[in-house]
C-alpha cells in the first residue's frame, strides 16, 4: 500500500498549496467550450480546466482528477460525472 502521493480533495482556496501536484476537485460546470471547461468550485470560486476534453457529455457536477497548473486551473487526467445534484438539501425547520 502506498500513501506517498495522495490526491487530496481541494476547493479553489486550497489550489495554490498544490501547484504541480495531483488533486481531485468537485465542481459545478458553468460552461464547456471544446478544450476548456469553466466551473464553479465548492467555495463559489471559478475554476478553469484546460486540457484533454471530457470524453462523455458532462453532467452538472463533475469531479476532475489532475495536476494543478496555477491557483485557478487544473490539467485534467480523469473526469468523473457526479450527476446533476449533490449534497443534502436541509429541510426548512431548524431541528435537523
Amino acid at each position: 500500500m502506498d500513501t506517498s502521493n495522495p490526491a487530496a480533495f481541494v476547493n479553489a482556496e486550497l489550489l495554490h498549496f498544490y501547484v504541480g501536484r495531483r488533486v481531485r476537485a468537485l465542481m459545478q460546470v458553468i460552461r464547456s467550450d471544446g478544450g476548456i471547461v469553466i466551473g464553479k468550485s465548492t467555495d463559489e470560486k471559478q475554476l478553469v480546466v484546460k486540457g484533454s476534453p471530457p470524453p462523455a457529455p458532462l453532467t452538472t457536477f463533475v469531479e476532475v482528477f489532475g495536476i494543478v497548473n496555477n491557483d485557478k486551473s487544473i490539467s485534467p487526467e480523469i473526469w468523473t460525472n457526479f450527476g446533476d445534484a449533490v449534497g443534502i438539501v436541509f429541510p426548512s425547520h431548524s431541528s435537523c
Binding site: D2, P6, A7, A8, T80, V86
Partner: protein
Amino acid sequence: MFSSSQFDAAAAFSGGGFTSSQPSQLNDSSPAASKSRDSQGLVPVTVKQISEASQSGDEKSNFAINGVDLNNVTLVGMVYEKVERNTDVNFVLDDGTGRIKCRRWVNETFDTKEMEQVNDGMYVRVYGHLKSFQGVRQLVAFSVRPVTNFDEIPFHFIDCIHSHLRSKVKVEGITSTNPSSVTSFNTPVKSEPNGSQAPSSNPGYAQYSVDGLKDCDKLVIDYLHQHSDMSDERGIHVNELSRELKLPMDKIMLSLKTLGDDGLVYSTIDDYHYKQA
C-alpha cells in the same frame, strides 16, 4: 387436542427462543460505554488510517486504531489496475489519502458478475477484511459495489471521522463535548470534500454528545477511583459518597445502579458499600 398441543409447543419454543435472546438484546441496548470491549463490526476507514493502524501480535495480524480492532472495514475509492484472473480479481483502490491493494476471490458466477461491473477509473465501495502479507497491508474484499450516488464519497469521509472520534473519546474517557477539538476537523488541511451545496455548518458536531457516563455517574466513579487505595476491601459507604459529593441519596443510588449494570462498580459487604470494579 392435537392442534392445541402443537400450539403449545410452538408457543413454548418461540417463548424459549425469545426469552433466551432477550437478555442479550437488553445488553445491546445498554449505554455504549460498556460496549467498548468488543470489536466493532464494520469500521469505515481511509487508506491513511489503515497505514497508521497499529498491529497487535505477530500471529493474529490484528490491526487496531484507537483500541478498536479493525477486522472488517469499508472504504470508498477509485479503482486502478484491475487485473482479472481465473480465481481472483486484483485491483488498487485510491481514496484520495493513499492506495491499497485489494483482492476479490471469485468463486461463483455472482462474484464474477459483480466484478465485471467494476472498471478502472470507477468509484466503488469496498467491504473487506484487512490482512498483512509479507509486511504489506492488503484488503481481501468480499463485496465491491460501484458508487451511483456520489454523496457517498463525502459521506464516507464523514463516517470515518465520526467513527474515529467515537472510539478516540472512549479511549480518552472524555464525557463532555469539546468544541475546540472538533472544529479542528473543519479546517481545509484535512482533505474532506464538500458538496457543491456547501452546507453552512456541520449540525452533527454542534449536537455531538458522547455516549459516556452522565455527570453524576462520572462523579461517583471518579470518587470511588480516587479513594480505592485508601479504603479497605469493604469499599465506600453510600453515606460517604452522598456527603462528599453533596448529592442526594437517591441520585447516588441511581448512579450506582447504572454503574453496577455496566459492570463498573460492585457492592461489597452489603448494598451500601461499593467499590470500583
